[in-house]
């Protein structure tokens, strides 16, 4: 542990980062091997699951404690010294939530091509981040996203509007993440969900409370390493077993084609389920076939657009690029972020394909469709997931053989159940649980910090008590962090929404209120305060109104823009309002215009001082 002693002396620590995380990765691999050996020696699967989750959380908490700080720029922007590659990894963990890790492959498994809109949207958004936002926000030198809005447009009211949008979007998102940590913790540690939620929150706060952004950065890097290993190992293993080699992502074309043949054999899409079961569904959508209609194409591209514009407006992502040493590094860091995210996202469709093949292909020993129901019911993984209600088999036609429309499953279990379906050792299941936990915790940390920082810096320090000293500000920031975390856990324990629905809403809220005020703040000098305020309030208001009408008041969606896509309506309203109001009111003063020009060139001092 001696090397962690350098956490406080900046230079040595930064130089040694590759070594430190190299040793960390090696240590984690050794831990996996140790668990594998213990499994062979007869250690129970429950104990392995508990050890995986407990060990990794202990490491994150340790890093969080070692990164504790009482310096303002360390707390808010990790001292602006995070190298681009490491910031890329941290962003990857910050970005990939429980939904990406647990639900994405399952969504593709159940939803086929249409679901890939999430994969495209959640990666392409970074092109907008890199070209339109990140380098300019870094040059600005802000601590939070409302800090930029408040200074660029001037006035506390603009700042307050930005805080409002940020809190609504991020809080919607964070409850889904705390829900996910609770779900995984309760399963791995065998505790009730309600307790799991609070346990998860405790882990999350241990990572962020003492060290703010600095602690979150270094734990997120550690969490990225765990989650990417946990995601890749089962896929590569499974692909090897099926003879597809060690880079399955490049060669699963044949597996896709084979699924196409099997879909004909098993009559996927033709055989409709005779019964409906709450929470689970039968496979009725073809894997690679794209629906051939203008409305299907429109629904695909609008979902892509929502996820992309949402990506570029979510404060917990944008603030990661405030931590790099320079504008140049912020730009490079976006590219690295996308690379690290890509590693998981281009694997998810492969995982969905291989798992589907395991289940459908009669040539594989693991297949269940077309087998006798008595045999299938005897399988351990079928029993285990049936017991918790995530899977159901109903012999609708009474022939004793399992047809495609008689097998009901919840998509969310695909990633978690894949090691069992494919007959991999339990140590892999424990690893996957630890990965899911890392994904959910790291995103929750980023979101909680984004909310608490906006409230402590923008609301408390900038508006309520501008004379507060550093100690005071940091104490307020921490109290807010705990309070918001607790509020999130309370809301999460009610389980109001599904994980994925809440995530899509968060993106739509963020893009409705923040996308155009942020972009035009850099790219349109004429944009002024009344315009920005109108953009934020009208966007958020119209978006929320449309969501309410479509989701709860029974209004017919416009052109198939359902509740997952309400951001399109909100952002369009925001753009119109912002342009019209800006042009109808006075142009910004010379000083503001000079500031925007300064913002556009990397050279020179940041607009806001290093501590402000």
């Amino acid at each position: 542990m001696a090397m962690f002693g350098d956490f406080k002396t900046k230079a040595g620590f930064i130089e040694n980062l590759p070594k430190i995380y190299g040793i960390y990765t090696g240590g984690f691999v050794l831990f996996i091997l140790l668990m594998a050996v213990l499994e062979q020696m007869g250690l129970g699967s429950d104990t392995i699951g508990i050890l995986f989750v407990a060990f990794t959380i202990f490491i994150y908490a340790l890093i969080g404690w070692l990164s504790r700080t009482m310096q303002i720029d360390a707390y808010y922007v990790a001292g602006r010294q995070v190298p681009p590659v490491f910031n890329g990894m941290a962003t990857g963990a910050d970005w990939m939530s429980g939904a990406s890790f647990v639900a994405m492959a399952g969504g593709i498994y159940m939803g086929g091509h249409a679901y890939l809109a999430f994969v495209v949207g959640w990666t392409g958004g970074y092109v907008l981040v890199a070209t339109l936002m990140a380098p300019y926000l870094r040059k600005f030198g802000c601590y939070t996203v409302p800090d930029f809005i408040g200074t660029r447009y001037g006035g506390n009211f603009a700042r307050l509007c930005a805080v409002l949008v940020l809190v609504i979007a991020s809080f919607t998102y964070v409850t889904a993440q705390i829900n996910a940590t609770g779900t995984i913790a309760s399963r791995a540690l065998q505790i009730p969900f309600g307790v799991g939620v609070w346990f998860g929150l405790l882990g999350i706060l241990l990572c962020s409370m003492l060290g703010g952004m600095r602690a979150v950065t270094w734990t997120q890097v550690a969490q990225y390493i765990v989650l990417i290993i946990a995601y890749l190992v089962p896929v590569i293993w499974m692909s090897n077993k099926q003879g597809f080699g060690v880079i399955p992502q490049l060669v699963y074309g044949d597996a896709v084609a084979r699924i196409g043949e099997l879909e004909v054999l098993h009559q996927v899409g033709t055989l409709k389920p005779a019964a409906t079961v709450a929470g689970v569904s039968a496979l009725t959508v073809k894997h690679a076939t794209a629906a051939d209609s203008a409305i299907a194409s429109f629904r695909f591209v609008t979902l892509v657009a929502c996820m992309m514009l949402g990506t570029a407006s979510l404060p917990h992502i944008l603030m990661r690029y405030f931590t790099t040493p320079s504008v140049r590094d912020a730009r490079r860091s976006v590219a690295w972020s996308l690379f690290f995210i890509f590693l998981l996202y281009f694997t998810a469709p492969a995982l969905a394909t291989f798992t589907k093949l395991q289940v459908l292909d009669p040539n594989l020993a693991t297949s269940i469709i077309g087998k006798s129901i008595a045999d299938v019911n005897a399988l351990e993984w079928i029993q285990k997931w049936s017991n918790v209600g995530f899977l159901k088999i109903i012999d609708s036609n009474g022939d004793g053989i399992l047809q495609i429309n008689e097998f009901f499953m919840r998509g969310d279990i695909v990633v978690l159940a894949t090691p069992e379906i494919a007959g991999l050792p339990y140590v892999i299941s424990g690893l996957v649980a630890a990965g899911g936990m890392a994904a959910a915790m790291s995103t929750a940390d980023g979101l909680l910090l984004a909310i608490a920082n906006a409230l402590s810096h923008d609301l408390y320090y900038k508006m309520i008590d501008p004379k507060a000293d550093v100690r005071h500000r940091l104490i307020v920031a921490r109290i807010l962090l705990v309070a918001i975390g607790a509020a999130g856990a309370i809301v999460a324990s009610f389980r109001l929404t599904g994980i994925l629905g809440a995530v899509a809403w968060a993106f739509c809220f963020a893009m409705s209120g923040l996308f155009f005020p942020l972009v035009l703040g850099v790219w349109w000098k004429r944009a002024n305060r009344p315009g920005a305020i109108a953009g934020m309030l009208v966007g958020l208001g119209v978006g929320t109104w449309y969501l309410y009408m479509v989701r709860f008041a029974g209004m017919e969606p416009w052109y198939g823009l359902d509740h997952l896509r309400f951001g399109i309506v909100g952002a369009a309203a925001s753009l119109i309002a912002m342009v019209v109001v800006s042009l109808a009111t006075k142009e910004p003063d010379a000083e503001t215009q000079a500031m925007v020009e300064e913002l556009r060139i990397p050279k020179g001092e940041t607009i806001l001082g290093s501590t402000h």
Partner: protein, 87 residues
């Protein structure tokens, strides 16, 4: 107009053009390609149906590669216009 100022104007002009170039590529691979997924699926690419491949992998690869290029190109613009940071 002083030279420093005209440099700024040139820098921003080139920066804007680079942004538009990259957003055009982004637009094609985010929206246009996927609009025609049913037609592309008729074509096989590396044994994949092309429409599926583009959504599962192709567009993603383009985005990643594009961002590394973008960073390089913008750094070049900054350097040539004398607007790069002193690091």
């Amino acid at each position: 107009m002083s030279t420093a100022n005209s440099q700024k104007v040139i820098h921003w002009e080139r920066t804007r053009r680079l942004m538009i170039t990259h957003l055009t590529i982004w637009f094609i691979f985010s929206f246009v390609v996927h609009w025609f997924a049913p037609q592309l699926n008729e074509i096989a690419f590396m044994h994949f149906p092309l429409g599926f491949y583009m959504a599962a992998q192709g567009s993603l690869v383009v985005f990643v590669v594009q961002l590394f290029f973008f960073a390089k190109q913008q750094e070049k613009i900054d350097r040539e216009c004398g607007m790069a940071e002193d690091l």
